[in-house]
């Protein structure tokens, strides 16, 4: 397998990647690619489909590189519909990822926000760290990485909004009830979930949250990914932020 080292393909040298396997669940697909990537969990790559758009994706595995895509618009729809042999073009990784800490971490992922967290769980497990992985989904048929987390020897807990599998409710419920049992919190999910996490953690416990905004340039110049009011850029200062820096800069949630 070709190894795409960190930053190898910034700039005009996109890396051509071939889809080797597709694993589709509802409107979400895991795309396995024929390259590997050195990346810090939480960092993102820019995925370009010539003729369509370029979108940011936080890998859910690094070797081989895997991206986990939810169809929300035209580019992600095309990605979810891909078949083995299809090609896409990648540059990156960009941004700041999660800080790996020993202790007893809790990982809370909502929707495709679970993607960078399962990679983080893998990297933490490689360090000998054991934690709890909580995944929230609208319903059981898009359960993504529970199996993988269990295979790492971790506890893994599923919440579904419709209660069709696992616990019924939101993954932040788990956080609320069990906060005291952990030494650090990592979260990635839709905005309301992230806010809830920030509200629950405040500066009481080391907490990092990956934020999503519309990323256009990916390199900190266009300003489209600003976290409103804070002056922080998702693509350059994030996507992973410490809870305290977000709150200090006036992000609502504290």
């Amino acid at each position: 397998m070709e190894r795409m080292s960190g930053g190898c393909c910034k700039g005009s040298h996109y890396h051509e990647a071939v889809v080797t396997r597709v694993d589709r669940r509802g409107d979400v697909a895991n795309l396995y690619l024929d390259i590997s990537l050195e990346t810090v969990p939480g960092q993102f790559v820019m995925v370009w489909l010539p003729g369509l758009e370029e979108v940011p994706m936080a890998p859910s595995d690094d070797d081989p590189l895997r991206i986990t895509v939810k169809a929300v618009g035209k580019t992600t729809r095309r990605l979810v519909g891909m078949e083995p042999g299809d090609r896409l073009y990648i540059r990156g990784p960009y941004g700041r990822g999660f800080t790996r800490r020993s202790g007893r971490p809790l990982l809370v992922g909502g929707g495709v926000g679970a993607a960078p967290l399962i990679l983080l769980a893998k990297k933490l497990a490689e360090m000998g760290v054991e934690g709890v992985y909580v995944e929230g989904q609208p319903s059981g048929d898009v359960e993504l990485f529970i199996r993988e987390a269990l295979d790492l020897g971790w506890e893994a807990i599923l919440y579904t909004e419709d209660g069709s599998r696992g616990y019924k409710g939101l993954p932040t419920q788990y956080l609320e009830e069990n906060l005291g049992g952990f030494t650090s919190i990592y979260a990635c999910g839709p905005e309301p979930m992230n806010r809830a996490v920030l509200r629950l953690c405040g500066d009481r416990i080391p907490c990092e949250v990956s934020m999503e905004r519309i990323v256009k340039c990916g390199v900190g110049v266009c300003g489209s990914c600003v976290v409103e009011g804070t002056g922080l850029l998702v693509c350059l200062d994030g996507p992973v932020f410490r809870a305290d820096e977000l709150l200090e800069r006036g992000y609502p949630g504290g």
């Binding site: 005009s12 256009k216 110049v221 300003g223 489209s224």
Partner: protein, 301 residues
């Protein structure tokens, strides 16, 4: 003893010669505040147009290693956003409002909003190379550019004309000085193309984009040198300043202030402190007592 970096740009007093170039984190109030706090002598807003513009779809930038291409498509929140855009800046911040449009009336309207909101200077973006009807087609037409300039100068604020690389910029300089322009921002990007050889596609969704960064530094330096050599006017030297060395060269060529744009690709804005420090150390080493004595220094040689 650290040298004082304060300087004058035409009628403006700057705490240092570094000016945030238009198009870089200048369309959001919290980012503009952050830029000011990072230490710029002045900040230029993203070019604002009468109506908000969505801009082009990504890819909108290409990192070439020796420069960048961009086709942002003048994405901006529109001139009506100006009060909000300025709302988080402290009183003492020096703000240059960049405006763009298709007609003299567009420019006049935007400039009027600027005057109402008390901006320190108005920069006319006549030279964006990748947006039809809002760009190079204007600046290549000296007569039309002058119509725009007259409309805006009449409002009584300091006006800077942002030049692109055209056959006629020296003529435009001469004739816009006659109209009362205070100075020039030199330069905008140069139209270019990048093709991905893996897919065979032009990388930018808009196909063509504007070249910036190191690649254009020698061109910007030349334009500044020519204009200063002939007219000794205030110039914001912009183009490929990606370190203190290029900033010093810009001052030597004749710029009174130095625009910082592509330096910010992949860099936190706080890192402009390195450029300021480099300039200061150079001044100490060479015995320059202030910024003014470096402006145009290569012409005295």
């Amino acid at each position: 003893m650290a040298r004082d970096l304060s300087t004058r740009l035409g009628s403006l007093s700057l705490r240092n010669p570094l000016v945030l170039a238009s198009g870089f984190i200048g369309s959001d109030e919290s980012l503009l505040r952050r830029a000011w706090e990072a230490g710029f002598g002045a900040v230029t807003t993203k070019s604002l147009t009468p109506k908000p513009r969505k801009g082009y779809d990504p890819p909108i930038v290409v990192d070439l290693g020796y420069g960048y291409l961009n086709a942002v498509g003048l994405a901006n929140p529109g001139i009506e956003y100006l009060p909000r855009l300025l709302s988080l800046l402290p009183q003492e911040a020096v703000v240059i409002l960049s405006i763009a449009g298709a007609t003299p009336q567009d420019f006049r309207h935007c400039a009027e909003v600027g005057v109402e909101n008390n901006v320190d200077a108005i920069e006319l973006n006549l030279s964006c190379p990748h947006v039809k009807g809002l760009g190079m087609d204007i600046v290549e037409d000296v007569g039309y550019s002058l119509d725009i300039i007259e409309e805006v100068v009449s409002l009584g604020r300091p006006v800077y004309v942002k030049l692109g690389l055209t056959d006629t910029y020296m003529e435009l300089v001469a004739r816009s000085l006659d109209r009362g322009v205070e100075g020039f921002t030199v330069m905008n990007t140069v139209k270019g193309l990048a093709i991905d050889i893996e897919s065979g596609w032009p990388i930018l969704t808009n196909v063509y984009g504007g070249l910036s960064g190191p690649a254009i530094h020698p061109i910007a330096l030349r334009m500044v040198h020519e204009i200063y050599g002939e007219y000794r006017v205030p110039i914001i030297g912009t183009g490929g300043v990606t370190g203190w060395r290029e900033a010093v060269a810009m001052l030597y060529a004749g710029a009174s202030a130095v625009g910082i744009g592509s330096y910010l690709f992949n860099r936190r804005v706080e890192s402009i402190g390195d450029i300021l420090k480099g300039i200061q150390q150079h001044m100490e080493r060479k015995g320059f007592k202030d910024i003014a004595s470096m402006v145009g220094y290569s012409h005295h040689r």
